[in-house]
Symmetry: D2
Subunit: 254 residues, 4 copies
């Protein structure tokens, strides 16, 4: 493998609030998935994040979620697939325009939280997301969870599709993330996260907690920005990859 992308979800704040040390993370990753104002983010935070990303040569994507600031987009609010299509279109378009205003450009879409979790296993939700992106801008790439319905749908409508794995999360032997709260769900040691990411890249497979290998293309590694040691983890993951000669580079042109 010549290169792999390193992405993180950023711009997660609202008004006076901010969750992560976005600037530090932007100095490490190659792609930033930016909240679009529905589960987090607002035009000001989006603008600042796009500016910071541009300065550092980081590619940006839109990170749409359910309209649920108080629940951070993590609650399964009942929406029809039609409503999901419109909310994705709205958020991606808003992000495209604010990015353009900031002198940057949205290159991909990655769903957030409960919307992403639903689309991981439910094909009709995954189809709604993919067809909405296709309808508004077929040149956008799709960044989705490896081995999920998300990537199946995105590929089926012809979007350039990139599969991601998580450096800092454990997997079950079906390739699903272990639920938060389960033993091994969160990998908190930078060294372990780096090794976990490197092994998955080298083997071309998700590696479950029980050691099972689930082969998958892997185009990007996700590191969370909102954990206690997120910056150290991001640095260790990048160093681990580069240490064995794997180039860390965005999947899209900046």
């Amino acid at each position: 493998l010549a290169s792999v992308d390193l992405n993180s979800d950023l711009g997660e704040g609202f008004g006076p609030y901010q969750i992560a040390d976005d600037v530090s993370i932007l100095s490490i990753v190659t792609s930033a998935s930016v909240a679009c104002g529905f589960h987090a983010g607002d035009p000001e935070i989006m603008h600042r994040t796009f500016l910071s990303a541009k300065e550092r040569g980081v590619v940006v994507g839109a990170h749409p979620g359910f309209p649920d600031i108080v629940g951070f987009g993590r609650r399964r609010i009942p929406y029809s697939t039609g409503e999901i299509e419109r909310m994705v279109a709205y958020q991606v378009g808003a992000a495209q325009a604010v990015a353009a205003y900031s002198g940057h450009a949205i290159r991909y879409v990655k769903p957030h939280g409960a919307l992403a979790n639903l689309a991981e296993t439910e094909r009709d939700v995954a189809d709604a997301i993919a067809s909405s992106i296709k309808a508004i801008d077929a040149s956008l790439a799709f960044l989705g969870i490896a081995l999920s319905q998300q990537v199946v749908s995105a590929e089926s409508v012809g979007l350039k599709t990139i599969s991601e794995v998580f450096a800092d999360r454990g997997y079950d032997n079906c390739g699903r993330l272990l639920r938060r709260g389960t033993f091994g769900a969160l990998i908190e040691s930078p060294e372990e996260a780096a090794q976990h990411a490197l092994s998955m890249i080298e083997e071309g497979a998700i590696i479950a907690s029980d050691g099972k290998r689930l082969p998958t293309p892997i185009g990007s590694i996700c590191v969370h920005s909102d954990t206690a040691r997120s910056v150290a983890i991001a640095r260790a993951v990048r160093a681990g990859l580069e240490g064995v000669g794997i180039r860390v580079a965005a999947f899209a042109a900046p």
Copy 2:
């Protein structure tokens, strides 16, 4: 004059609420300025409005306002010009994407409520709006209040700029709308509104309540959708124009 546009502000609702009889108005006007979710509107209402407009061959524009659902965008909330630039970009981009999803296309931008009122007289606010539109899509036209700073700014950045007058509102002798509540501020009779509009078009001037003429290019006539007799007024204005051979047609291609 060969032709003039007839526009109305539509899609003004939120969740279960709707203000106007949009479908009836869409059967009469040639351009619809659609709320973008900040002062009114949501992705569902925007989608339905774009579909209805498309069916009837009505051109659509984005109608951005202050983020103020409860105040309907009519309150002067203190925002910096930078914040105004980002909120306009966000809303126009969202509208472009939802319109594209709906098979339609945003052709112009017209500011709403307190944002429009500020930009009527304050050049820096007008500049913020114009430069934001220019930055995200220089092919968008600008529809603004005749003889306002809005149109001065839009023209100065090179946007295609259309000046509008109001059929159903009285003017003072500076060419400003009489404040709501003032005698003569609202023209409630369809016949009077039709005559008012026709006279302004024929004379190429805003006609103040005291009879003063203020010459201005007029590319569009606005009829409000939320008044008691809005549908009758829109019909009368259109009939009045067509009765003397003036073609009513959108200023932009659908």
Copy 3:
């Protein structure tokens, strides 16, 4: 039976929006369940509704729902029972204070929409509502759906509990409301609604669409305010009861 209460859900609007002709309904009913700002309502609408109710001698209750303006409180958003306890406390307290400011007083609580539907059948949700009311003001009465877990919970914590039936809705033979969209779910004729209400009062039972009788105490009849013929239905129901000598009076002192 000496008397029965007639109630309606009112104050359902937001900012510039209003759904029903509240003033007309307030001239007919004896109790008004007022939205508290989470699914509908805001401090201004609440105040106006309390003033109108007071002028007409109508008793007022708090009508708490899920925080979901866009979904009108009708969506089942995942909340823990603890969160439900706090959201009920917050809304009831807000309503009590605004009512006091308006010179009126909240006498009861009736849950709204998805919150009410969940509490109809799920005992833990019903318990959360009842215990929250008990904790903040044990003198408040509870108005709930006849034969539901709502009334079981409210009675079990010692709240004065009133069971309501719906004049304008059909029932299945388990005593549950027919789902909207089902044949017979909505009773749109004022005469039929009046007869339906009168029969249930006279027989002391919910009368299902198939004729089955489900005996229950009935302390109040609900008429919806947001249907096309709501005012005519409310008038007919009241006239129907009074026509046979049943007094229509609030269950609580005004």
Copy 4:
């Protein structure tokens, strides 16, 4: 002087966000002014804050502000005095009920941000706040800015009124807080803040940056919770007072 209260504004967060280290501050202060959900706070955060305060014997007050989560209640949004009356009633009532649910009790009201700033100098806004509190619960105390219209209005309607000074902020020689951004506006050294507070208490006067003394009753000292060294400042202020034998105690019974 036998004793003085030490207060801080707490519960300032929203959904997943939190600004201050509330638990540490609650171990030092004697009164906590808790955000009510309009500029910050939600039922969950309010509940947790009331529980923490109760455990530590800290008196709680309601801290109402403008409905402006994104602007943290610091923007001067145009509201009529009538609207201010209703928004204060709503928030205080909500806080009373959530506090009661949490086993605690609201003892006072202190306005927040732009609402407080307006009421500092505008008598009609101050009157609106005072009369709203009086209407809903005349037993509530009022905690306001020393030498402001706030306390004049509160006293004039008969509320128990406590004047506060700020340990960590500089004053001009009219007794007004120096604007943020001005030299000397923020006192960042715990030692200086402690000395500033102690001097004002001992002299019974606001001490301006230029040394001018403005005599005023002082019932409480406010320390901000959202500054970098807030916990150290709160500790130093308390230690400074107790070091000279001044008892730090709530002005209201817990």
